[in-house]
Symmetry: C2
């Protein structure tokens, strides 16, 4: 989709919108890095990397507050309408989800600070595939946001179902393991919370995909079935 920002009489307004969009992508990149580092920290038992994730979270929060303030200022000063207003509102919601993905990265990183036996470590590794899928969703949805590409956004929307399935499968596996070795329960629970965090990351990427569709199509698809989105909104 062509953003066609040139239509604004005020070049200044264009610049402001561009700036905010760039900031969202910068924030998205930072959150992506946080999640990547959290997963690597778990996978490689790298406690320093885990600590780095915990210490960098404030940067994500700072961007969240800054972009939110910028959006409020733009609404008050520029009184945007139609698609400009939708863009600003979509951004306000997007950064909330990005910030929460940052929180999930923090939760995962905390697990990397614990000690695990070798067998337990195998289970941590089992979440690696799921982590990669969640990361891919985040990457794809940021990409869809950057290009305001509804079709790409819809792909992310659909991908969430796959992630949910993988979550269910691993969760079942972990429960079986807990039943076989009850002493491992507390440690395995940490792994369970982590894959739950990844499942939530998927939900939040799906949320963001909905904001992209809202911006481009002007339709709120949050409680709409995928078939409906496909047949009645995207076409």
């Amino acid at each position: 989709m062509e953003l066609n920002l040139n239509k604004h009489i005020s070049g200044q307004f264009n610049e402001e919108l561009e700036q905010i969009r760039n900031d969202v992508l910068k924030m998205g990149g930072l959150v992506e890095q946080q999640l990547t580092n959290a997963l690597n920290a778990v996978n490689k038992r790298d406690k320093d990397l885990a600590k780095q994730v915990l210490e960098s979270d404030y940067l994500v929060n700072k961007m969240d507050v800054k972009i939110d303030e910028d959006c409020t200022r733009i609404i008050a000063k520029r009184q945007p309408a139609a698609s400009d207003l939708r863009l600003v509102l979509a951004i306000i919601k997007t950064i909330t989800d990005l910030e929460r993905i940052g929180d999930e990265a923090k939760r995962i990183a905390k697990v990397a600070l614990e000690s695990f036996s070798n067998t337990q470590q195998e289970f941590l590794v089992s979440m690696d595939g799921m982590g990669r899928k969640a990361l891919a969703m985040l990457n794809d949805v940021l990409d869809a946001f950057a290009r305001m590409d509804v079709d790409a956004a819809f792909e992310v929307h659909k991908a969430d179902k796959e992630l949910d399935k993988e979550y269910e499968a691993i969760a079942r596996q972990l429960m079986t393991y807990m039943m076989e070795d009850p002493r491992s329960i507390p440690k395995i629970m940490d792994v369970l919370w982590s894959i739950r965090s990844l499942e939530r990351v998927g939900d939040r990427c799906q949320n963001i995909s909905e904001y992209v569709i809202y911006f481009v199509k002007g339709k709120d698809v949050r409680h709409t079935s995928e078939a409906d989105i496909k047949h009645n909104i995207l076409n």
Copy 2:
């Protein structure tokens, strides 16, 4: 705090803002009912009540979409500034959290559809106290929102810590039980997810309390410590 809505030259605008605030409270009441029913369904093994929660969720979603649209229309048409704009933005965020509390109620209701042994049922009852606390937080934050009372909002903000502590205590208890009786693990996991849901309800009530403070004080306190809020923002 006096809302002082009279200051608007347009009586129509006043009415629109009042209408939206009333709708938020109506949505809040509905979500409160959903959570109450979900907890009662679990407590009394009432599957019909649980089904009712699942079937009513669409009402919450509908209100979410409607209020969101109304807010967007108000911004476009009325071009609110200062505290009016803050009110509308606070509402947009509040309804997102309310809708998600509705989702948590749905998750809890699903547990009531399962069969539990008597011993397991005891654990479900153990979450009753936590459920009541979460409900009280929801009630109090809706009340704080209705009166735009920052002090009441701050009380909810602080209450979340208590709920987190209770969550930790019950989670530890449940893990001990799982270790003692590994066959119970899958069922106990359902209880664990439910108390996690309640813990999330508390987080979301805390979010809403932050929007109330944002509206009244004009300060984003989302990533601010409680000491900071108390000394630098409320006073």
